[in-house]
């Protein structure tokens, strides 16, 4: 009797041990959308073809739990800057990591952007890359991205007509493993035309902690608040990529790459 109890206990322990290593984590759900920018609404598909699992999601910025709604049909978003977070749960598996994307309404109509020449390997889809409304794909080889490796990137934005502008949005990529960092500083000016000369007048600056180490690959919208009382149809944006990749990264000391896929003004 005593022996049987001992054996039983050992068998149970043995089974536990044998199983412990083979409890796998689920992969994150497959989030599909044409762009994170939308005119009136965005429709986001989540996929996870694995029986016995459920995708839970949130739109309030919080980490999804099993108490949050289960994904059943495409999620329609109408409000700008909405973050969709999704996570898969299933019996016998560890829950997945969370995937997330933030969706933005497109801004004022832009007639043209004139920008520095991007790096040869990352030229996007041509002159309209930053204004085609397509962005938010984290694969940096995707033709929505312009890649720059220089100390300063200058972009001139020409609107269809003079307007009051309150905010500038730059949509960038962070993938430090691929040497792609946030820029460290952004300055925005408007062009002031005088009869004999053109003046740049400062409208706003944003400074970012670009050298903070982070291994997450993600898109990020950088919002630069502007003096909204001035009417203009021409902005000049000066972007300063990270000048020195920090210690602890294989690229330490060199210039960080800047990847940009969309520019919007509001």
């Amino acid at each position: 009797m005593k022996q049987a109890g001992l054996c039983c206990g050992l068998v149970v322990f043995g089974l536990l041990f044998a199983k412990a290593q083979d409890t796998f984590q689920l992969a994150p759900p497959f989030m599909k959308y044409p762009s994170v920018f939308f005119e009136k609404k965005a429709s986001v598909h989540l996929k996870f073809a694995q029986s016995g699992t459920r995708i839970h999601y949130t739109l309030n910025g919080l980490e999804p739990s099993e108490n949050d709604p289960v994904y059943r049909r495409p999620i329609v978003l109408k409000k700008t800057a909405t973050t969709l977070k999704a996570k898969v749960f299933g019996d016998g598996f560890l829950p997945s990591e969370t995937v997330e994307a933030t969706f933005y309404k497109r801004g004022l109509p832009i007639e043209q952007v004139i920008h520095d020449q991007p790096h040869d390997r990352y030229r996007g889809s041509g002159y309209a890359t930053l204004t085609d409304g397509l962005g938010g794909i984290t694969n940096h080889g995707h033709p929505t991205w312009l890649g720059f490796q220089q100390e300063k990137v200058t972009i001139e934005v020409r609107l269809k007509k003079p307007q009051k502008i309150r905010q500038l949005l730059l949509h960038v990529l962070k993938n430090q493993g691929a040497w792609i960092f946030l820029p460290q500083r952004i300055e925005v000016f408007y062009l002031y035309q005088l009869p004999e000369t053109t003046a740049y007048v400062w409208m706003g600056t944003k400074v970012l902690d670009a050298s903070k180490m982070d291994d997450k690959v993600a898109c990020q919208a950088i919002l630069v608040p502007l003096d909204g009382e001035i009417k203009t149809d021409r902005l000049v944006v000066k972007i300063y990529p990270l000048a020195q990749i920090p210690e602890g990264h294989p690229g330490k000391g060199s210039l960080g790459w800047l990847f940009l896929d969309e520019i919007n003004v509001y």
Partner: protein
């Protein structure tokens, strides 16, 4: 009852009582779909890591004796030879720093190996115990290569007549055909915009399932596809596998098996799985991947669903239909074994 024993038994009993519900709730992890489902064993290898370490585990084959051979770019032992239960029987090879492709060919009753070495830019034919029989340098005769470094062979396939097809998967993506003595015959594939071109020609294999029409299947990994050619290199068809970075095709019975290095939707994040196609090239099962579905004749985009693998690089199917999965860049992990669930 002695008090000491009583405590011991109680403790074990309690642990058992606590954990039993969890065990009963938990089922074994079964991977795959339809008639191709497997139970995974991540601790198949009994090799001692101190004596017989591995680096990238690139490819595996089974020999006539039923032994499982693994090729790794760890130059302490480039080839590890196991029995089917994971017991290490033998190890050899210290001169293959770029060991990548391993193909076994039954040459008039004797098994021989073809090793592709990325770093040496060579294909080396050996006996099963490592004696070098032939070394093939870069194919100057093709007039496509100026120097050895342009040629980075990843895989070979041997035709029944002994012709050797080499996939230059990390070089210029040509398939180069030689006769059994290593004399250049022709090349095909290569990069470009035509249907018969290849992008990352990572693998190549003979397809003898249709005895009347033997053919060759090459991998176009970055294109997420396989491409079929006749034995003279004429392009026949493309088998598209959206989302799947397929490594070499491995044919056994009516089925084609392939390790999928990663999901296209989650690149370079350990998002691999294993795919299995039937003889009509239809995906029937994805091990640790999405359930195969089709829109018309095209598979829907595939992706990893269970993180059972990191970067699977090859599948070996043994004579009892067990699978062995070797992985690249996956923490120097030994291969996993997967047993069919009937």
């Amino acid at each position: 009852m002695h008090r000491r024993n009583f405590i011991k038994n109680t403790a074990l009993g309690m642990a058992g009582a606590l954990y039993i519900p969890e065990i009963m709730a938990k089922t074994d992890t079964i991977l795959g779909h339809n008639n191709k489902r497997y139970r995974i064993n991540t601790r198949w290898s009994q090799a001692d890591v101190a004596r017989n370490p591995v680096n990238d585990c690139h490819e595996m084959v089974q020999d006539q004796k039923g032994r499982i051979l693994l090729l790794t770019n760890e130059t302490k032992n480039n080839v590890l030879i196991y029995d089917k239960n994971g017991k290490l029987l033998d190890a050899w090879g210290t001169e293959y720093p770029g060991a990548h492709g391993l193909t076994l060919f039954n040459e008039n009753g004797t098994d021989v190996l073809f090793i592709c070495d990325n770093n040496r830019h060579q294909v080396i034919k050996t006996t099963l115990d490592g004696k070098v029989l032939m070394t093939m340098d870069y194919p100057k005769e093709s007039e496509k290569y100026d120097k050895a470094e342009d040629y980075v062979p990843t895989e070979t396939a041997i035709a029944p007549n002994g012709d050797i097809y080499v996939a230059d998967g990390y070089g210029k993506d040509y398939i180069i055909q030689y006769d059994a003595h290593g004399r250049y015959i022709r090349h095909f594939g290569g990069r470009g915009d035509e249907a018969g071109n290849l992008l990352n020609a990572h693998g190549v294999c003979m397809d003898l399932r249709d005895q009347t029409k033997p053919s060759l299947i090459a991998t176009s990994r970055q294109e997420n596809a396989f491409k079929r050619y006749d034995l003279a290199g004429n392009y026949l068809e493309t088998i598209v596998l959206p989302g799947a970075w397929v490594c070499r095709p491995v044919i056994r019975g009516d089925y084609l098996y392939a390790a999928v290095l990663q999901s296209n939707s989650r690149q370079w994040t350990e998002s691999g799985f294993v795919t299995i196609l039937d003889k009509n090239n239809k995906v029937v099962s994805n091990l640790a991947g999405s359930e195969p579905t089709y829109t018309g004749d095209t598979p829907d985009e595939m992706y990893q669903t269970i993180k059972a693998f990191q970067y699977p690089h090859d599948v070996c199917v043994d004579d009892e239909e067990n699978l062995y999965v070797a992985q690249w860049n996956s923490g120097k992990t030994y291969p996993f074994k997967l047993e069919p669930v009937v």
